[in-house]
Symmetry: C2
Subunit: 497 residues, 2 copies
């Protein structure tokens, strides 16, 4: 019997996708709805689904089908061929490491994250550094196994888990340019800002229920379809669910409606990307989002480019005033624009503005490479963090809580993730510029709360591609040039100076 | 290698249970949170989990392990032995029918349910009778295969899917007694009711948010732990989730707060049963609820026995007045008690009071047995329904919408389910009487909103048994006698006459 290997793989990956979707919903529920007493059982459910997903792909039949399909892929159309490439990638990621390494790393990460929460609360890096050393060592082992399989460097193998095909060779020149120009630009922006008026704070409280209404109104304007998604609350905002049922979350501060709103817009950018993925490839690898750079570019394009454009505040100010029943000088487009563009030398990455954010990221990029190579011993991390931040931003944390204990990523074993934030910001600027060039009336449309043509452009040039091309191929095709820092630096100059 | 077969089975069933829990949550979300556009993907997720659950047990290794464990179960303690019995039962149910029959029946049911919705809306039984004939035929085939495996009659094999071990021989004498006494009792109750004052309707509207507050206050009083569960809204109230995270739902009518509240109390009874199941057997078959009779007994014990007791209204009236900001003569304990005990010859089972409800159930019991045996041709069902209701209740529907198109059960392939409603009501009365005898101050406690001793009694005598005993063993041990209609009939006489 000569079964069609490719067709058999599509069937398997359809099942794999259904399990991913089920896990995604359980994860969403865990953060939004689940009472605390459900945690243990939920962890068991998620672990069981994980094991079943792994088993689906780890069976020798899949390796054999992949080999057969690749050996004779001439009958496949281009999307099927791309799908086959992505199947291979998913299969490699799922099976590359031996089971005992995966299990040891997963256990080490769990223990380290627990220790990190305490260490952070008590500002005591030494309380977690031993566990972090174990995570680092197991991550190195994992990276080594994967780099051998992929034929690439160890750090590149780690990046690949978040940004398929991402490499240091791609990142370094882009970051070098930012390092050279961003600090000076920041100084100029801060100088100009100091000479102008400080923004007024809109006077709350703004009840969460009204903020939610405002968020939903803006989501609708951006193109979010509530027949295919929801907005809920969680401690840490995220986008979950599946393309046909995207669940985004935010958290509300009653004193400041802008933070939840900008969070909603950010997650809506992620959600619209998911929703715009190619419908006919819903349950296949090629129908998935490309990677973290592309995903972050879509959230930041909405949050930082489109919905911090001065034109947007002409739409937002009257809408927010109406829904929140607020007014006065603090609610004018000009003042809201000033709030949205406040720049500061801060210590905390997640609170940073778009100007200083890359400086936070690049510090982490340098430090994590040095940790992995062994050039930076773990015991020297706190000092290296302080010195690094001082050198690039001009400020340094007084404690490790606001320093190297700030982010969960490393303690969670996520090395190679940080650069995707800033690459996403650069891609956002570059894509928005291309959209702006292609849609001459975009500013007026944004001022009118009409995002239809922008979303149409994004769906056509980015979302509907799915994973059929690499990140740089998508960006090049959409903007005429590979990813660079040009558009981002131009955007900062134009917007802030 | 002499692997311990029982231990291997426990591991498999733990995974099976985690998948059940995951499916349960997906089902809950589908009814409460999911936007309509997520339906197709959700159906695929649920079907995939179903297949994986089936595959977990359908592998020959499980049959072999079961046989080995049963052949040498001397080393197992009584709970483990009971667990092994339940594993066999679950395995039989999961694997008894050939895959093509399961699939054909599932497809026939889906098509029939869709056709039923239309047929009901258009009051046209002939539009669905062909599809119902197919479902009936495939259900007969399924019952035949299962009855051969279990060595029992066809209808008993179908009952077993809802009430393990339930038989016609168990049901018939109990129902015969009800048939003999209930119509006369109903006449007396209606006569007495007609001589008294009609209840006043509390004047709404009662906002859903306040009704929810009231529901949660009552749930807390009954012993519901919100660290292990939630209350939400859905079109049809149900209890979902898992014992450590029980999700109950209700629906609110702004004109009448009592219907949602009594629904909440009913589901809370189900939830408390789940929550009280033996903690140390959470992921094993013996740790599951016993069956539909026991489950319905726990919901009806709360709804009909404890929370319609005159004492309860002394607790409820001031609480409801406070939370709903309502008052007047309609909100007195006496009036709320009258509302809770209104009896009527109605056409609709789900709207029926506890006096007439068994008459609705017994009609369906007789009709479904006759349908399965072939004694009643499908074309004669509408007439048989009308005649049967007229004979027992004294009223007959003018159309099939309120007649044989009323309930989804048969169209959904659920034959053998209906009797569990009434057996549950009888068990509720019998258990509540035993609790009442054992807890002499129960009425005063209920009047004070204190359900601790009642819940403690139920946990000890019912919930914590899990599936270690049969329904009748649990009832006999708790009440001193097997299930009968005595307590129920006494309860009706005492409460209503």
């Amino acid at each position: 019997m000569t079964e069609n290997a490719y067709a058999a793989l599509e069937k398997r990956f359809r099942r794999y996708s259904a399990l991913s979707g089920a896990s995604g919903l359980l994860g969403w529920d865990q953060e939004t709805m689940m009472p605390s007493g459900g945690a243990e059982a939920r962890a068991e459910q998620l672990a069981t689904l994980d094991v079943l997903q792994h088993e689906l792909l780890a069976t020798p039949a899949v390796s054999e089908e992949l080999a057969r399909a690749e050996a004779d892929s001439s009958g496949l159309d281009p999307m099927q061929q791309a799908n086959l490439r992505e199947m291979r990638r998913v299969h490699t990621n799922e099976t590359v490491a031996p089971a005992d390494l995966v299990e040891a790393r997963s256990r080490a990460v769990s223990a380290c994250v627990v220790a990190w929460r305490d260490a952070r609360a008590q500002d005591d890096f030494s309380a977690v550094s031993g566990k972090l050393a174990t995570v680092l060592e197991l991550t190195r082992e994992y990276g080594a196994v994967k780099s051998e399989k992929l034929g690439c460097g160890l750090y590149d193998a780690l990046i690949d888990s978040y940004e398929p095909g991402g490499t240091m060779a791609w990142i370094d020149p882009v970051f070098a340019r930012l390092k050279a120009e961003l600090p000076g630009l920041m100084e100029k922006i801060l100088e100009r800002q100091a000479a102008g008026p400080a923004p007024l704070s809109p006077e709350g409280p703004f009840p969460a229920a009204l903020q939610k209404q405002l968020g939903e109104r803006v989501m609708r304007a951006l193109g979010f379809d509530f027949a295919h998604g929801r907005l809920d609350e969680s401690a840490h905002p995220f986008t979950g669910g599946i393309p046909d049922d995207v669940r985004i979350t935010t958290r509300y501060s009653e004193n400041d409606f802008t933070s939840a709103l900008m969070g909603v817009i950010h997650e809506t950018g992620h959600a619209l990307y998911e929703r715009g993925l190619p419908v006919e490839w819903r349950n296949q690898p090629v129908g998935s989002s490309r990677g973290m750079v592309m995903h972050e570019s879509q959230s930041l394009l909405m949050e930082m480019q489109a919905c911090r454009a001065p034109a947007f505040y002409r739409f937002l100010a009257p809408l927010a005033s109406e829904v929140l029943d607020a007014g006065g000088l603090a609610m004018t487009p000009e003042n809201l624009n000033r709030i949205g563009h406040r720049v500061a030398r801060g210590l905390i990455r997640v609170d940073a503005d778009e100007v200083t954010y890359p400086l936070h990221v690049m510090l982490r990029y340098d430090l994590e490479k040095a940790l992995l190579s062994g050039d930076l011993p773990l015991k020297d991390l706190p000092g290296a963090w302080r010195d690094g931040l001082k050198a690039s931003l001009g400020v340094a944390p007084e404690d490790d809580r606001d320093g190297c204990l700030q982010d969960i990523h490393w303690y969670h074993g996520s090395f190679g993730y940080f650069p995707t934030y800033t690459l996403g910001a650069l891609a956002a600027a570059q894509l928005f510029k291309a959209a702006h060039d292609a849609l001459p009336d975009l500013d007026e449309r944004i001022a009118a709360g009409d995002f239809k043509t922008l979303l149409g452009w994004l769906v056509e040039n980015v979302h509907s591609v799915g994973s059929a091309k690499t990140t740089d191929e998508i960006i090049s095709a959409a903007t005429g040039a590979p990813l660079s820092a040009d558009a981002f630096l131009n955007h900062l100059s134009t917007r802030y100076l």
